[in-house]
Symmetry: C2
Subunit: 333 residues, 2 copies
Amino acid sequence: MSASLQLNIEHVREAARFLDGQVVRTPTLRSAALDRIIGAEVWLKAECMQHIGAFKARGALHTVGRLSDAERARGIVTYSSGNHAQAVAWAARQHGIAAAVAMPTDAPSVKVESVQALGARVTFAGTTSSERKVAALAIAAETGAVVIPPFDHPHIVAGQGTATLELFEDVMTATGGETLDALVVPVGGGGVIAGACLVAATHRTQVYSAEPYGCDAMGASLEAGERVAVEPGPTLADGLKPVRVGELNFAIAQAAGVKPLRVNDEEIGRALITVLAHARVLVEPSGAAGVAAAIRGLAGGPRRVGIMLTGGNVGMDTVSELLSRYSLHPVRW
Amino acid sequence: MSASLQLNIEHVREAARFLDGQVVRTPTLRSAALDRIIGAEVWLKAECMQHIGAFKARGALHTVGRLSDAERARGIVTYSSGNHAQAVAWAARQHGIAAAVAMPTDAPSVKVESVQALGARVTFAGTTSSERKVAALAIAAETGAVVIPPFDHPHIVAGQGTATLELFEDVMTATGGETLDALVVPVGGGGVIAGACLVAATHRTQVYSAEPYGCDAMGASLEAGERVAVEPGPTLADGLKPVRVGELNFAIAQAAGVKPLRVNDEEIGRALITVLAHARVLVEPSGAAGVAAAIRGLAGGPRRVGIMLTGGNVGMDTVSELLSRYSLHPVRW
C-alpha cells in the first residue's frame, strides 16, 4: 500500500500525455439553472461524451496501451458491470488485441450489446463484482490472457485521473486561474475518485464520494478506517455496485480525506432528469449520482463545485421511465 | 440588398471578438454511432449548451451590446417564437435594459416561462411571425423602444455566424487543418445560416438548409430565385415557422448556393431521439432538423459533415412523448 501512495499528479500528467489525441477532451459544462438548484457555481465534466460513453475509456486505453508485445499476443480479459467492459473491448479493438469480458447477468442490455459490437467475447457471471472477477480469473488461468482490472491498478487510476486534470484546467482557464472548492465524484470501485484525489491534492479541493445507499463500499470503508466489504443492494446506479473498492483506490481516498455522501434511487433519478432538462446532457444513473449528492447539499457551502458526470450509457427505456416519474418536477424545490 | 452582400467573414470575426468571454464556446461533439448512421464523419456544434439554450444568445448580445446609451434608455422590443425572445431578454438583463417581447400564443411554455424569468414583458400575438412582428412594431411606436429583429440584421447575422466560426476552428484543430465538406443548418428566418454562409464561403463548404415540409420559406425562395412567403403549416419544430426568411439572409444564402432540404415531423422526432441516445445531448425539435436532413441523405456523399444543433429548449413532456414513440428504434435501419 505504501508503494501505491507514491502515485501522484505526475503520473496523471504522464497518462494525459500518453492519451493525448486518443481520448476525447470532453467538455466542461455550465448551467445557470443548476447553479441555482445547487446553490454554487457548478462545473460539470461531461465524461458521458467520452469514447464508449464513459471515463473508463481513459484508464483502459492507458493500461492496454502500455502492454508489451508478448502480453498483447496473449489477449486480455476483464470483469465489469458494463462501462469498463466496453472500455476494454474498445481499447482492445484500437490495438488489435483479442478481449474477453465477464459481465453480470443484470447488466443493462445497452452495455452488453455495445461490448459485443466492439468485438469482445462476453461471459455472464452472477450479479456481484466478486462473482465476475472469479469468472475472469478462470478465463485468464485457462487462456493465459492478461487481466485488465477495472479500478485497482496504478495505470487505471492515472488514466482516470486525466478527466479531473482536464476539469481543473478548464476551470482555471475560464476563471483566470481560480480553482474548485469541492469536487463530487460517483464511486464504484474507486478508479475515477482515486485519480481525482491525486489531482485535487494540488488544489486544496475537498473531494466527496457519491454512492447509493446500500452500495457504499467507499463510505463504509472511510468510516471504518479500513477497507470493508458490503453486500450491494439493488440500485438504479448499476455502475456503482462493487463489493469492495480497490485497495489502492481506498488508500488514496483515505489519505486525501475524502468525505463520503450517499444518495437514494429517487435522488439519482431526479438528478438524471434535472441534468437532462437543465444542462441538456444525458447521463446514466451512476453518472448522475454526483449531482444527486450535490443537490442534497455539501457541508460548508462551497462556492465553486466540480461534478464528474461519469457516463452516459443508459437505455432509452430507463430515460422514458424516469421522465414519466419526475419530468414535471425534476427537482423538488 | 447590395449593401447586405458586403457582409463577410470579417464581420463575423469582429463579432467573435466582441462576444469573447460573454457567450459560451459550446462544444463540438462527435459520435461514432452517428457517423455510422449518417455515413460520414459528423461534427455536431452543440448550441443547445449556449446561454439560454440556443445560438440566438450570440446575435442578440451582439446587437444589444452595440446599442448607444440613448437607445438603451428607450428600452428594446422584439418578436420571436421563443429562443430569440429568451436571447433578447437575457441580453437586456446583461445590460440592464428594459425589454418587451411579442410571442406566439402557441409558444412552448418552457420558452415563455424562461423569457418571463429573465425579466422581460411578454405580449401574446397570433401564431405567425407576421402577427407578432406587427405587435412588436406597435409596442415600439407606442413606447419608443428599439426593435431588435430576430434575423434580418447585419449584427444578428454576424453574431450568429460566430457559432459556425467556432465549429470550423474546432474541426481544423482536431483534424490538423482539414475542413468540412458540408454543413447542415436548420432554418427559421435564416440568421444562423446566413452567418454560416459567410464562414463556409472561405472553406468551399456546401451549405444545406433544413426546414420542415410546409415551413420551407428558405427552400421555396431559393427554388423561386426570389424571396417568397409561405403559410407555415403545423410542425414539431416550433422555431422554424417564419412566413418569410429575412431579405439579408436570403440574399446571402442565395449568393452562397445553399441547397435546400426538407424533413417531416417523424424524421425530426427520430433525429431528436437519435441525438439523445447516441450523442447524449438534448436538442429541441428545431435543433434536430439538421440531423434529420443529414440522416435522410446528402447529395454526393460528403466525407466530413458539420451539423448545427441550434437549440435545446424543449419540454420534458415532448421528450417523453417522442421517447414513447421512437425510443426502441431511434433510427429506422
